[in-house]
Assembly symmetry: D4
Homo-oligomer: 253 residues x 8
């Protein structure tokens, strides 16, 4: 409500066309209404670039199919479905052209787009058991248009394997480092790379890992720089953020 509109309103009050209490409500709520919200909500309907996403956990297979069909009809884009049960995949796959990844329980309706990011995203894991989270991150990044280099099972207990891929690490634009247990991979990669590192703690492990807490704390306390952390097992969040960073354009000249 700009100065003029406010003046009009007040004159309508003075003229009796608008009641004071109605004007009161209008003035009180106006500022909120005029906010220009830029972005829709995540993980339930992101629509950036070319992909839509459905967070499958807690949804019935019928709900997933219905939402996916609506998205497909409306916009003909790729639809990413995370945390989707095998049963739901079979159900949805009967009606739509679905590619389903067992390991990460991720479904993709439509084509994975041609990569259009600036560089490459490296997705690295400490162990093989971190792969489900890694694939969720990698597929998310691919669906959002990124070239992804997978470095799996390169944890610090066998660091030579990580070293074999030093060029990938050194030439990445952004790295997603995924590890459970002691989560040291993020620090080690952060100590070598000079690009942003997104650390994903996983709940892989047992005993004093307390559902991923050990890796989470380890990553938050990393003494290497350029590292930030997302929620435990949040492969989607890491893949999405990595894509966002990989699509940042340079200076306009």
């Amino acid at each position: 409500m700009d100065k003029k509109e406010l003046q009009n309103l007040l004159e309508q009050v003075a003229g009796g066309q608008v009641k004071p209490e109605d004007a009161l409500l209008q003035i009180k709520t106006e500022p909120y209404k005029e906010m220009g919200f830029a972005k829709l909500d995540t993980h339930r309907g992101i629509r950036q670039g070319m992909a839509e996403v459905i967070y499958g956990a807690g949804k019935t297979k019928e709900q997933i199919l219905k939402i996916a069909q609506a998205m497909v009809e409306e916009r003909e884009k790729t639809v990413l479905i995370t945390r989707m049960s095998k049963e739901a995949a079979e159900y949805v796959g009967a009606s739509l052209d679905l590619h389903y990844d067992d390991l990460s329980r991720t479904g993709i309706v439509g084509q994975i787009p041609k990569p259009d990011g600036v560089g490459k995203i490296v997705v690295a894991t400490g162990g093989t058991s971190d792969m489900p989270v890694a694939e969720e991150a990698a597929l998310t990044a691919q669906v959002y248009g990124n070239e992804v280099v997978r470095l799996y099972d390169v944890g610090v207990a066998g660091m030579h394997r990580l070293m074999d891929h030093i060029e990938d690490i050194m030439s990445a634009r952004v790295i997603v480092a995924i590890a459970g247990m002691e989560g040291a991979l993020a620090s080690v990669i952060g100590g070598m790379a000079d690009c942003p590192v997104i650390a994903v703690p996983t709940s892989v492990g047992y005993g004093a890992n307390f559902g991923g807490l050990s890796a989470l704390l380890s990553m938050l306390n990393s003494c290497a720089s350029g590292i930030s952390v997302v929620n435990i097992d949040n492969g989607f969040g890491a893949g999405y953020l990595a894509s966002m960073i990989n699509h940042l354009e340079g200076r306009k000249e």
Copy 2:
């Protein structure tokens, strides 16, 4: 010797201006740590771009002065000193040209460089008491060559203040969102912006905030996308990562 300097040296060798044996000496006298490893360790001696950094906590004023002097003499770059006591600042300031910021306890020796990042970094806080952490982040970003927009005290309990700055939020290249207590600022900003958001939980608050745990968990669980989290009160880490992202160049054509 950073990557660029090493490249220059090698080109001078190729061009005959520098003899191999002299280059050898130069490389070897800064063994390993100067050999082009992308990065030294954080918070104790990063040397990317034009700045050096000293992590002041746990160091005596004499130690800080000595390290700073060595850095200044050797390379004549800007030196950033974080977590520096007022007493140390006075001691160092007697010998070196130090600018000291009381609030964040940050010292800077030398000139803050002209910004050379791609866009602007917004540093936002929920309340005035988060400002010490915010200034550590903002000064770090400035020292690494970034233009910084400060939006302080724009927490969700008075969201109209945040809305007054919606253009800053929408046009940032990267945002550092700093909040204690319930840490909701990161989610709200993450729900509006479409650039990477680095969330910094602070230990500000009392009772069930448990030294920053409430804000930390809140930020990790944010349902907005594009958010990642650094350690509680880690303004430096956020500023450094923001600078790294803000200096990412676009595609080479």
Copy 3:
């Protein structure tokens, strides 16, 4: 025998319609627990206004039916059954006129009374997965005689949806704000509304939400005023308290 019934009885004694010895018998046959103690214990047998409640968790279907039948026979009031399994609902429904809500696993025997509260209760959720808890709160409020406005999936990651309902927020007498993950909804609503806000953390989420702890701490640390918190997933408690506040009468003139 509730407060009102006891008062009626005593007035009938005073008026001569009921003999003291008959009143004595009536009072004594419901020893202590029926004697006007303001309230029986919660979640197992509240009898305020017109509703009875049975906390279904941990009870067999036979127990639930038996208790419900006794309540129905004795007083012919509405009976609310929370945390009731589908199996129990089918069993009870065979003998009694039961309305069962799958989502919140809440059963209602008898009619939902006509609202007699002072204003409206807004029940808002951050996401769709918070709806089971929200429906428990909303149905509880309805059974206790309140008009309920449901605002579901208005979380901070898509704040425009919340803004679309700003009039509901601004005109509510009491708001129940339900959210899992980072629990920011309570703070955002608390920052806009000027009525009491009852925050309900939910266990929705994964990883570092630690069964609802993240939302709980976030809500307890809210820097907005007028907010208080109930137990994780405690929709009943929030609906009951909201009803209590909504039935507070104004000053007697």
Copy 4:
């Protein structure tokens, strides 16, 4: 300009006593934050009814004085200053008419207004050591225009003392129950009263109370109904919410 003042202004416009252009000027000179946003942010500048509040923690005595003076000059209302050190009180008291309460470290500039709430607020504590938090709650409630009944040291280890005040409990409109250690007071009061109970855990105790965690968890898990909880030691928040509930008007006929 609070809600009531804005309403008055609009009615004067409607009635012709104030010209629209003058009203426009008045509204615009207090841009946004004075425009009827239901509420400013808590603990740093609430202006509902007749009081202003300054959250003293983390502010210098000079800052407190300056803010208080601005408030006093501008509006001549009562100013409440919470978490104020004795030293700050002496400094502010030299320039302003300050009443300072040592126990709760609360300062009040100006007169405590005549109570205008609907009923009485009972503030009860488990022990004498909970009194600082209780006085913060009680003084907050008084400053916002409430009649307060103090029941201190009525904890469950000596329940006869609580019983001596059963009439106060039964006739309260809202109760603030404050306790450290095992926090049982809230449940016991909640089991007796039939009005809303705001529970405040305190950090009083030692050993396994873990800074108030024991009382917090106890209160959140209370099996009595009508109870909600605020942050540990948050007397202000409880007093403010109690006042809000106590000022709720009844139905408009």
Copy 5:
């Protein structure tokens, strides 16, 4: 061989009824564990007074039967089996005279002995859902020869019910107070009684009770005196300790 049996044996040696070498054999064939160490280990083979106990959790039905048969044959005493599945009960019941309590999953082989304790043990619970733990405690106490008074569902949310049994509380020799959720029952009883109170937190509840932690902390922090706490859900431990206290004899004159 308990202390008494060893004494008898030695007296028979002294009196010539038993030859030293026979006594030697008898003592040595039950090496160490039978030699008068006051007590064997708990929950797996206590033999005080007249009962044996088998901790059923983690044992197969075959193992339980085998151990129970050995105990029965050898000594013809009562055998208590805790945490015994229904299936195991049916299996054991086919071979031995077993009384099985469904609620607490406790089995008893043989007769419950006539009470020979000094006074009565009161076992009180906050709610009906604490009854499984309570029955484990009560049956344990009975098997060890105690008269038990059960006061179930007398929690603080409906304190009148507790009050109906004030004489039982006041005349008990030792009280076992069992409660989940906020665990206030122990404090309230501890504030009334002047005998030892053994508090048993239960894992009953949901949300922020964190598997019994809320009740545990509450009980440990009780400000009433004469209270001590055993592990969460440890009905056996409480019943055993209560029996031990109830069998303490007075001074010998």
Copy 6:
């Protein structure tokens, strides 16, 4: 209010001598009032046997003196003051005949009474640093009339020292086992003794003892029988409970 009194009241209502609303209030509040509370509150004014107790923590020296003087004048009994600073001791000692124990910061006004318990109380500690808590327990027990045997520094890392006192352990009527760090002492003693063992975890230690949590959890999980636990560092509570058990009389013949 018994049947007769209620009948009288109702007849007075019928006769018009008592108004229905007055009768209502009388009936509602009576049951609470008629409770015969047996005991005053702990740690602030216990008056069992011959001692009074003042919990010194959080009280000024003037308050302590005033309370102590009132107690002395009124009843001429022994007064126990726990958690009393040296400064307060000097202040109180100037006016009253005070014995002050530096180690446990316990003060005693008046004579320690002649022991009149049934047996002996053993107070055992794992290390010398647990002695402050132990002395609080031991002095409390002595003040309440018990003979105390002190076994200090008999922790499991040097078990021979514990073994040297096996007779004391075997002949105690009740044992207070005090230990920090791993808290194993309680289990070891519980495995040897056949009397009640009250375990007191202490906050002694560093690192992962987390303020006594390690010893607390260890003691709660003890697999020995007859053990119960009080709060961390709660020497008073243990001494009081031990005295209560030691004064239990045997059967009356």
Copy 7:
């Protein structure tokens, strides 16, 4: 790259045989590559002495068989498979010569080698329910060539049983002490033995053991010397480390 190689490289740059940018890459990545990593990663393919190990958890039976077959073919060594389900054991056993231990869910393909360690490894447990973890440790140690002495169910609640085996304790070269609940066994053994003690907390227990946390903290805080701790339930890790210590050779003369 030693001094000479670097000199050569630089001369090749000077001579034009190597381009500066190639030299740059070679210098940057070389140091990592030349590391002589000594050991592969644990629990997924250790190859020290004569055994291979497969961590079975999270692997399908087909994967386990395939890995095991490859190992057997390649090297003809013993293969240890930990955390292997019964179902997987049956599947693998159909193709390979597998010995499967039900209790610890450990499979062994091939012969257990003749012990070649320096001394004996004692594996002791507090209770019978700790035996699965103990057998994992013991079988691991045997597979790596150690003589193992099993002392099961020697917990502190019945310490005489531990004492029966004092000679084993005193003559061990290294002891693995395994206990759940209060974890006191490690301290007691550590107080008696003068060899390294590896403590393994187990998740055995209930209530406040919090999945092994109680035993873990207890063991970390042990006041006995020579003790170190591995992860909860990590029998393999303890057995492996014990073997490593037991194979340390003495001084070479």
Copy 8:
């Protein structure tokens, strides 16, 4: 008491020389007494090899001097004093020949013995701020007769520095790996070395390191083999255990 002694005792009972009750006592207490405890308690009086140790924390300077003098007089060995304040060092140094290390607050009376261990102990730290704990470990190891190689500030954020010392890592007999923050050093070293690694988490760091918890959990969850963990900041314990392992002799031929 062996078989023969027991036989003698029984014959004395038979012969009347020993009363049955005396025999009873003798039999009951004997087994505990005859234990040959091998070792005194740690950290308060270890006497293995040539050194004595005093744990200085919580002891007055006078106590420390007195204990140290007694040790020196009695045995003329080296005395190690850990956690000793500077003030205490000055006081003790006035009477005894004390070497005091400021950094680790460790004092040594007498000569550090000539190393007599089998190999070398490497003490490595992640950062310079871990050095106090490292020096406690290193000096402890030296006092017990070990050759120590110090590798300080070789954390994973600058791994080249660790690589410079790969030979030390590879040739150590036992390694003490000390790190705060994310504690990754232990895993990285554990992944390279093939000797036992003792990990020491330190409380160095801030925010979500929670007093060392992050490093502790990280180390416990290490996926490298051969690692075990001691308490946070427990340099002494690590040094002692390292010495124990380094003094293990090889097989006797």
